[in-house]
């Protein structure tokens, strides 16, 4: 009988135990049983302590190219511009604009957005607003630039000096928990380089 109790103790030690806050939320707020995705930190926590996602969109209204938030002036080569922002639930797009520098032998823009995989995926587009055409869409980034638990989209595009460009950050579609996590936060990085 004693052996039976010892065996049960051993079994009890084999129940999986995931401490609160140890895992990042997976796709579409996926978390271990009994846990939920904490909105502010996108980590899996005990369900009763999970807080809702909050979004402080810094530049609203910025839903159209005309409403785009203007980025600082870039030179032929620039320091890295970086900002953190978010798309609130139901927000169709965030726009940024910048002017391509003039007088450069050649200039290109390197643009990257990263966002948690826990919420809706985001897409990146680069528009030539002067010509009113989309010139590039976000593709995969070098693996070294993609943090664990995050999605990243990158664009490297040669610019026409003097043209006005727009960066659109939009929902990529799908992956929004059936509409329950149709929001996300992101980091945007922009830099001009000599191609």
């Amino acid at each position: 009988m004693r052996a039976t109790w010892l065996a049960l103790v051993v079994v009890a030690g084999c129940q999986p135990s995931v401490a609160s806050g140890t895992y990042l939320c997976g796709d579409e707020e996926l978390c271990p049983s009994g846990q939920a995705c904490d909105g502010p930190t996108n980590t899996c926590v005990v369900a009763s302590t999970a807080m809702p996602f909050t979004c402080m969109d810094m530049h609203e209204p910025d839903d159209t190219p005309q409403q785009a938030f203007a980025l600082p002036t870039f030179g032929c080569t620039s320091a890295l511009y970086s900002e953190d922002d978010c798309l609130a639930a139901g927000d169709a797009a965030d726009w940024r604009s910048f002017a391509a520098p003039t007088g450069c032998t050649a200039v290109a823009a390197q643009i990257e957005i990263t966002s948690p995989i826990a919420f809706e995926p985001l897409a990146l587009q680069l528009w030539d607003l002067t010509a009113n055409t989309m010139v590039a869409t976000g593709g995969s980034c070098p693996p070294s630039e993609t943090a664990t638990g995050s999605d990243a989209a990158c664009v490297t595009q040669t610019l026409v000096g003097g043209d006005s460009y727009g960066i659109a950050i939009q929902p990529a579609g799908g992956g929004d928990c059936g509409g329950k996590c149709n929001f996300n936060r992101y980091s945007l990085q922009v830099q001009t380089v000599t191609p």
Binding site: P16, S17, Y23, L24, L30
Partner: protein, 175 residues
């Protein structure tokens, strides 16, 4: 056991001398029957009864059934151990106490579910196996065959027989 008439036993020793020998035989290894030897009979006193206790023997069926139950319990415990180890393996892949910086995935969820499932199975098999072993042990005690007790009523009759170089002193009684 009732004394069988006609059976006569000659004890080639006085009861006073035989008692220590019987006691020694009782404590010696391999001594099959237990004998409650009477104390030495003093002059003019009737010697006490000699009680011989013979342990009962289990039937083959009893041994086979109880052994089978016990073995089945051990086998079920082995199955429980298998699931126990499987649960531990899966559990080790997902159990965390510190932030790991990794997102929760469907693959991890599958490991988590497997750990819980195997853990539950291990508990069930351990429980049934342990119950079988315990039941076999209890049944082993409850089905112990009764021992046989034979009581010898000594009625010593002094006997003296000549032998070369001396004589043998003994007693004769019926039982």
């Amino acid at each position: 056991m009732k004394p069988k008439p006609g059976l006569t036993l000659l004890v080639v020793a006085a009861v006073a001398l035989g008692a220590p020998r019987l006691a020694a035989a009782q404590s010696a290894p391999g001594a099959a029957p237990a004998v409650d030897a009477p104390p030495a009979a003093g002059p003019g006193r009737q010697p006490r009864d000699i009680v011989v206790v013979t342990e009962g023997t289990r039937t083959t069926q009893n041994v086979v059934v109880l052994g089978g139950i016990a073995l089945a319990g051990l086998a079920l415990g082995g199955v429980g151990l298998y699931y126990n180890l499987d649960a531990r393996d899966a559990s080790n892949k997902v159990t965390t106490t510190m932030p790991v910086g990794e997102p929760w995935t469907k693959a991890l969820q599958a490991e988590y579910d497997q750990a819980q499932s195997s853990s539950t199975k291990a508990e069930v098999f351990y429980g049934i196996g342990g119950a079988c072993v315990a039941a076999a042990a209890i049944a082993y005690m409850l089905t112990a065959p009764p021992s046989e007790t034979t009581v010898i009523h000594p009625r010593p009759v002094a006997t003296v027989a000549p032998t070369p170089g001396g004589a043998v002193v003994g007693g004769v009684w019926r039982f």
